[in-house]
């Protein structure tokens, strides 16, 4: 790609700021983790607000956002967690597209609601495609900006916006579609492929009890603390494929909720899987937050997911993906 002068200069990297898209699919059979935005709903909305295709690369910010200097006039949208964004000192609204003048400084304060925020820039972040994706997987130093989180003095380029950016500002997600995050969500689950590894009382426990997100939680997964899930002693499990939202149970009986950066294969049986439509809630959990699980059918899971997407498509139609960023 032809390199234009840097578009954004990183003044401070923030706590964990990475380039993400919707994930690196198609190479899991080679052990390549999917990665991608933890809260893909917020990532898609951010991209649509600036008329990027859904899979355009954007920034995922975590708890403490970065400080960014804009070297060109840009249109941005911030979605997901409210990390108190300000531009040149005045606070910025979330869930809408905003014109950022040349020379502006974007910074963040303390987190108000949620953990992960998404910053899309019209044109998308221009980093090389690695195995079909621009997502960063930090553990394998793959993709994104040099395979790592952003830090001070990095500079980012963006792709060319499809439209004149003048007509982009002012788009917003209707209020009724803005997610209400909370620190005690109910996550709906489908029985997992190894449900039969566990006693009936364990399944009942999982469906009733409250679990706390432990400090040992990151983009790979959340360790949950709560009532012990008991595995039948006779069952021996052989490692197989994992998925985002899977609740796997190690020998200590404390479940682990697998998230975006999970390894492709895992050696613990999976008692249940959180439905796709509820993963955005899981993505916004912080250590100390609590979750409860509620059983659900696959048909219900698919219905809810499609209903959410249809509502979004009506409010903010998707962009043709061929328009930018080869």
């Amino acid at each position: 790609m032809n390199r234009e002068p840097p578009h954004i200069i990183v003044v401070k990297g923030g706590w964990l700021t990475t380039v993400q898209d919707l994930g690196r699919y198609g190479y899991q059979q080679y052990g390549v983790p999917v990665a991608g935005a933890m809260d893909s709903f917020s990532a898609i909305v951010a991209n649509r607000l600036v008329e990027n295709p859904d899979q355009a690369a954007l920034l995922e910010l975590t708890l403490k956002g970065p400080e960014l200097q804009f070297e060109q006039e840009s249109v941005i949208a911030i979605t997901g967690a409210d990390l108190s964004p300000t531009i040149n000192g005045s606070s910025l609204p979330l869930w809408q597209s905003i014109l950022v003048p040349h020379g502006s400084r974007l910074s963040f304060g303390s987190p108000r609601v949620g953990v992960r925020s998404y910053l899309a820039i019209a044109g998308g972040i221009d980093v090389p495609l690695v195995l079909g994706s621009r997502s960063t997987h930090c553990a394998s130093e793959m993709g994104g900006f040099r395979g790592r989180p952003l830090k001070q003095a990095d500079s980012l380029c963006t792709g060319k916006p499809v439209q004149s950016i003048k007509r982009l500002p002012g788009k917003r997600l209707p209020d009724h579609l803005v997610p209400r995050y909370n620190r005690t969500p109910i996550l709906r689950i489908i029985p997992g492929p190894q449900q039969h590894f566990f006693s009936d009382t364990s399944l009942a426990t999982l469906a009733r009890a409250t679990y706390t997100v432990s400090p040992q939680s990151d983009r790979m997964g959340y360790r949950l603390i709560g009532p012990t899930i008991v595995r039948k002693e006779s069952m021996r499990f052989i490692s197989d494929c994992t998925t985002m939202g899977a609740l796997q149970v190690p020998p200590d009986g404390q479940p682990i909720l697998l998230m975006a950066d999970r390894q492709t294969t895992g050696g613990y049986p999976k008692i249940a899987v959180v439905i796709s439509a509820d993963l955005f809630l899981a993505a916004q959990l912080a250590p100390g937050d609590t979750v409860t699980f509620a059983p659900c059918t696959i048909a219900q899971a698919q219905t809810v997911l499609r209903k959410h997407r249809a509502q979004l498509d009506t409010a903010l139609p998707p962009q043709e993906s061929s328009l930018l960023l080869r």
Binding site: G26, Q29, D240, T243, V273, I298, Q302, R306
Partner: protein, 247 residues
């Protein structure tokens, strides 16, 4: 894995197993058995290839592992039940459709010393001299059952039971790229520098995973790997020809 996992597909039930089970609302797992077994793994890989060959749109990943294939799909394009039905309708690879028609790779390894710091312990575990432990490790080709753990990491086996030392109680925080390790009845090659808990017995100068380039992965499920011992001079010569591309 305990050695008894390795028993070769005994009983018709495990040979003929075909269990389709949802993995959430956007993936389906098809199980062919409950053991680490070359025949079950071969059927698994054959089935994965067959799904690839269908060329269905909206399929995001087809992932064979030891004894199951997981198919990831776009939930906006597929109903899980429709895809399950299509998968059920595909011909099932028979028990005869077995041995690897994958590529055979010869992987040169410099065993022991700083390149394989656990060789002596593994030899002591096996009750062998280090040279005999090496002989045993190179005595047969190993099947690539699956890749996982980190990009390009091959799970190879089964290794002779005598060498089946458990993994280290405390994993190393950084294992050098190219390290050849073993744990229980499995052996493997660390494609890049990562944390790791396997017993390290040697190192290969061959690069099995590159982050860039058209063919990032040397090995695929179903291939065979044969290790070949080399000396320091050969290791250095091969190392100078190939470079791990850590950026």
């Amino acid at each position: 894995m305990s050695p008894s996992n390795q028993a070769r597909g005994r009983g018709r039930t495990s040979k003929g197993m075909f269990r389709i089970v949802p993995l959430g609302d956007s993936a389906i797992t098809i199980e062919f058995g409950n053991e680490i077994d070359p025949l079950i793994n071969a059927r698994t890989i054959s089935f994965a290839k067959m799904v690839v060959d269908q060329g269905w749109s909206g399929i995001l990943g087809i992932v064979p592992t030891y004894r199951s294939v997981t198919v990831f799909f776009d939930p906006f394009q597929w109903n899980l039940s429709v895809l399950a039905k299509k998968l059920r309708g595909l011909p099932r690879p028979g028990p005869k459709e077995s041995e690897s028609n994958g590529t055979v790779h010869e992987i040169p390894v410099l065993y022991g010393s700083e390149w394989g710091p656990d060789l002596e312990e593994v030899a002591a575990f096996a009750g062998l001299r280090p040279a005999d432990a090496i002989e045993l490790h190179i005595s047969m080709p190993y099947r690539v059952y699956m890749l996982g753990f980190s990009p390009g990491f091959p799970y190879l086996g089964p290794i002779p039971e005598r060498l089946a030392m458990p993994r280290r109680s405390t994993p190393r925080t950084k294992v050098p790229a190219g390290s050849v390790g073993l744990a229980d009845r499995q052996t493997g090659i660390y494609p890049s520098a990562t944390p790791g808990g396997w017993q390290l017995i040697g190192r290969t100068p061959i690069v099995i995973y590159r982050k860039t380039g058209a063919t990032p992965f040397l090995l695929k499920p179903g291939d065979l790997v044969r290790f070949k011992p080399i000396d320091r001079k050969e290791f250095d010569r091969l190392s100078s020809e190939t470079q791990h591309d850590d950026y």
